[in-house]
């Protein structure tokens, strides 16, 4: 490993170079993994593999487990998980963590929450790290300037056993958003607009680096929202160069470097984690923040986005024959007629939460919109699922929970919940939901369920009016 680099390097290349253990002649590298987050759904078969081969977890300090996908979000969860398969999966995680001495936040731990919320919250996530998890939204952690990506269960086992992965370097794409975001437009709108621009497979094979004034001026929460959805553009990872906002967020968190000399040493290193002047990317995309409006999805892939002022498109609006067929299918599934104004679409349910938008800033944004108002009568259920026990506690202390409950929202316990509906929180067939989550796939939130993705403020506005609504006009 040489420290003398003569060519300007991108942020991705710097992190990559600092983690390469060995490169074979065929260009395949073995890379070190700093952090491994583990949850109940994608780990049981990996632990079983370790057991069968009589292997241990290689690096316990770099491994943290939590249950999030299956956990009920109702207040009676202290009584245990009623659904048998979910209970078995969570209990299997508990048993595996006990057997292999892995640190675990169990369901009743205040620090429990969605895996991608708790990593940053605990200071487990830090700049310049390689971070993996058996979950595609691991890209979230890229907001800290960490190379973070989702892996399958075979690779979960590989990381547990060796703390390494066999990889080839990705291509790089810089996405620059210049200027300032207009009022009512958030990080969520920005990332939805980007996915609309490059497509749901546009990022395949790339690591996306987000840059530009509109990105740099985001809070850590906003940056996490953006990086979280990198996978929805097909990219395994998103990156944002760390800066003072990042360092301030990390300082004093329980698993961050201890304040003092160690923290200063870390910051000194973190400050080197930005793309060098003159570094080249395999692809560049440039957007202007002023062109981005509050954005919602109308179809069943995250690239099917439209400004809220728009209308549902027709299959004939697309050139590609396969996409036309796909749009016909989507409109049928979504129960939408081409030409319908988005703001005329009425809703049944509202879901606010997920690793995309389940952080304190998101809940504050919802509270700001619904304070003193009531959810519309046609809304059967509006649920707010905080991303973690600590987010929930903070929202209660700030009075946000009261505001939301007075407006008619269900205030839940933390977990993945209706983002994917592995627990009882699901849509019924045909139900239409404004959701702050990340996927609008067929059946994602429940068989036959219809999902429109949007920002927390937009979902809050929709809760008040009962239909898709332009937050700027509420």
């Amino acid at each position: 490993m040489t420290e003398n680099y003569t060519q300007p390097r991108t942020l991705f290349q710097k992190i990559w170079d600092d983690h390469v253990i060995h490169t074979d002649d065929n260009g395949t590298s073995l890379i070190w993994i700093d952090r491994h987050l583990v949850h109940e759904v994608t780990s049981p078969q990996a632990f079983e593999g370790l057991r069968m081969a009589n292997r241990k977890v290689y690096h316990l300090e770099g491994t943290l487990a939590v249950c999030d996908h299956n956990v009920p979000t109702t207040s009676d969860r202290g009584e245990g998980i009623k659904e048998e398969e979910s209970r078995i999966q969570v209990e299997t995680l508990y048993q595996n963590c006990a057997d292999f001495s892995v640190k675990l936040f169990d369901m009743m731990d205040k620090r429990q929450g969605i895996v991608h919320i708790i990593g940053p919250e605990q200071g487990f996530t830090q700049p310049g790290m390689t971070i993996v998890c058996g979950d595609s939204h691991t890209s979230t952690h890229g907001a800290f300037g960490a190379l973070a990506f989702g892996i399958g269960t075979s690779e979960v086992e590989h990381v547990l056993a060796t703390q390494t992965l066999i990889q080839k370097p990705a291509k790089t794409m810089r996405i620059t958003v210049n200027g300032t975001l207009p009022d009512g437009v958030t990080a969520k709108d920005m990332i939805l607009a980007i996915i609309g621009e490059i497509g749901t497979a546009g990022g395949t094979g790339y690591v996306l680096e987000y840059a530009g004034e509109a990105v740099q001026s985001l809070s850590m929460e906003g940056r996490m929202t953006m990086c979280n959805m990198s996978i929805e553009a097909g990219a395994r990872a998103g990156l944002i160069a760390p800066d003072q906002t990042t360092f301030d967020y990390i300082k004093d968190r329980p698993m961050a470097p201890k304040d003092g000399a160690e923290f200063d040493k870390a910051v000194k290193y973190w400050k080197t984690l930005k793309s060098d002047k003159g570094a080249t990317y395999d692809k560049e995309v440039i957007l202007d923040a002023k062109d981005i409006a509050p954005t919602v999805t109308w179809g069943t892939t995250p690239e099917d986005v439209m400004p809220i002022t728009g209308s549902v498109p027709a299959p004939s609006d697309f050139d590609d024959e396969a996409k036309q067929q796909s749009v016909t299918r989507m409109l049928d599934y979504m129960g939408l007629a081409a030409g319908t104004r988005l703001q005329d679409i009425t809703l049944d349910k509202i879901f606010i939460g997920s690793c995309t938008n389940g952080r304190i800033e998101d809940l504050r944004a919802v509270a700001a919109v619904v304070a003193g108002k009531k959810i519309a009568e046609n809304i059967k259920l509006a649920m707010i699922v905080p991303g973690s026990g600590l987010v929930k506690e903070q929202a209660e202390q700030e009075g946000i929970a009261d505001i939301l409950m007075k407006a008619g929202f269900d205030w839940r316990e933390p977990g993945c919940s209706m983002c994917l509906g592995m627990n009882p929180d699901q849509l019924e067939p045909g139900e239409r939901c404004a959701s702050t989550s990340n996927r609008n796939f067929e059946g994602r939130q429940g068989r036959g369920g219809r999902t429109h993705l949007m920002s927390p403020a937009m979902a809050a506005a929709a809760a008040i009016t009962g239909k898709l609504t332009d937050i700027r006009e509420l």
């Binding site: 390494t164 749901t200 796909s326």
Partner: protein, 203 residues
Amino acid sequence: MEKFTKLTGIAAPLRMINVDTDIIIPKQFLKTVKRTGLGVSAFYNIRYNEDGSAKEDFSLNKTAYQKASILITGENFGCGSSREHAPWAILDMGFKCIIAPSFADIFYNNSFKNGILPIELPQDQVDQLMQSAEDNPEATIEIDLENQKITRGNEMSFDFDIDPFRKHCLMNGLDDIGLTLEKKAHIAEFETSDKQKRSWLYE
């Protein structure tokens, strides 16, 4: 892992683009703690009616394709989540090879880990294979991994690309963890130098 060298089998068409992992294996089947047994639940929502009966218009339900071992489908196959349950389900259904114009990254990677060969071909070649699988279901396709060739009788023959390391692992049924553990000394060396450089991570 089972070795993959040559495969001769019936090809089944799935004429859809952006087939996501929620379509391949819906959430309710992710609660298993095993790798096997997911085949019957693969493509559940588009394969079965509400009452559990098979949907007649779903291509993979057709009698002709019940013994198919090759799946031919549209671009960006396997997009969405990292669930390895998706390739497990497809393998358990009997497919050992998937041909598409493009794959989502994690799914592509996960497939190799389970002895499935995902092949990327140009759109027009996929279109030809898809059409012939629909028109003439009983004709078999031969996949020759060593020579990186797909042939269908005398009518079609296409070359395909594959990463040499992945090909090597697949042809020899190699276990990644075993390969990595052979590099133990390199890992230890890395850790020693990294502890100097980023000491705060090893407090």
